[in-house]
Symmetry: C2
Subunit: 269 residues, 2 copies
Amino acid sequence: MQQAIAILDSGVGGLTVVKEVMRQLPQEKIIYFGDTARTPYGPRPSEDVVSFTRQIVDYLIQFSPKMIVIACNTATAVALEDIRSRVNIPVVGVIHPGARAAIKATKTGIVGVIGTDGTIRSGAYEHALKQIAPQLQVVSRACPDFVPLVEKGQFRTSHTYKVVERALYDLKDNAMDCLILGCTHYPFLTETISEVMGPEVALISSADETAREISTILYQSNQLARSDETPIHQFFCSGEPGMFRKIAQDWLGDHILLQPVVWQSPSIS
Amino acid sequence: MQQAIAILDSGVGGLTVVKEVMRQLPQEKIIYFGDTARTPYGPRPSEDVVSFTRQIVDYLIQFSPKMIVIACNTATAVALEDIRSRVNIPVVGVIHPGARAAIKATKTGIVGVIGTDGTIRSGAYEHALKQIAPQLQVVSRACPDFVPLVEKGQFRTSHTYKVVERALYDLKDNAMDCLILGCTHYPFLTETISEVMGPEVALISSADETAREISTILYQSNQLARSDETPIHQFFCSGEPGMFRKIAQDWLGDHILLQPVVWQSPSIS
């Protein structure tokens, strides 16, 4: 029985990590949990986010995964260290991978970060960036209106464009040459964000970068999947599965979901 | 006393990894060993390369480094697992980082690899790529004439252009969209290789990618440098230091070498 990578998020955002793991590590089995009943995490007090994350990890750990991926920037910012201290397998967050990719990419030394209120308030990206490269200049911006658009499936409407433009308009005045999408929901809005920011600003998806780091860590600990079988993924969500299923199919493609998928709601408080 | 990252290579090629570690991890101390007396490793029998690599690791381990980086593709291909079994600290090679970056980058699914005879003969890149993503198509090419050019400091001469063009000319016939520079010497020739291959082929430097993976592994094992002091690097080479010093200054910049540098030849067989 192939051991899975367990990936969790506040909702559908972590599916951006799933998509990249499927592409970059096609032999790995994934178990996903989206806490759609309690999304968004961004505006919630830290202690609630820690408690929700613990609860989901307790649920996922019963599948004996080989790794836990906290595919939510808000939960990574406040709960990563706590979860690390509670389990005996590698725990990967999405903040440091994005930070490292920005450090590798920037030429001007000015890096932008957008995220939820919770992520930006925590200062986690600024801390991660400056811990490694203290000379960097970091410009952060909370974009609390983005996640609700994604959870409703509104990726490319004119309303979405207006919301994104209003949020990012004056960020362009800086000499930043890369902008970290510091929320795993934001890659759903990549086209719109890119249009607003212009071609000279490289968008760094913490989702894409996290998939690559998962690959690094599995290799380094000699845990890459060796099976030639096609992995069978499992998806769980805490809320009503209709919208989750629709977004997952739109994002991951119908062919992916032709593989057996188990939809099941664990009891949550 | 800050623990260093120990980086070794057959000669000056590993300086491309050093440069990126300095840029991406400016707080980390580096101890470098270039085996300039026995370069190039590419045409040598595997057992010699394993034996040389062991000897250098034995020399470097006396400095109690926190990590060993085999910044030579030939040595990574044949000696990585051997060295891993001999030391109790993380050992990082340059092959898997390049492979992972190519998997992340490719859209066509056709990846090119150039390297020394030893690296290409080992099939190490093809193995690393297909272990992770079996559907990829890999086109490999040994370029034994490149390392001697670099060790002589001939990066941008017209002779160099002719040698590179002759070696890579017909590789362009493939639909490859990325080419792994599977030798840490090759980034010295980036401009020439890029001119020959054209803008539609992304060049992936295993050196740059390795620096990023060093960052990932140090973070994951909680070993990032916390010091605010400027690290003092040390460089060793086994051969005559004149050309090594010249290339190091050209590549790393004079300001880097204003920091104290110790030149010393260990006894080698």
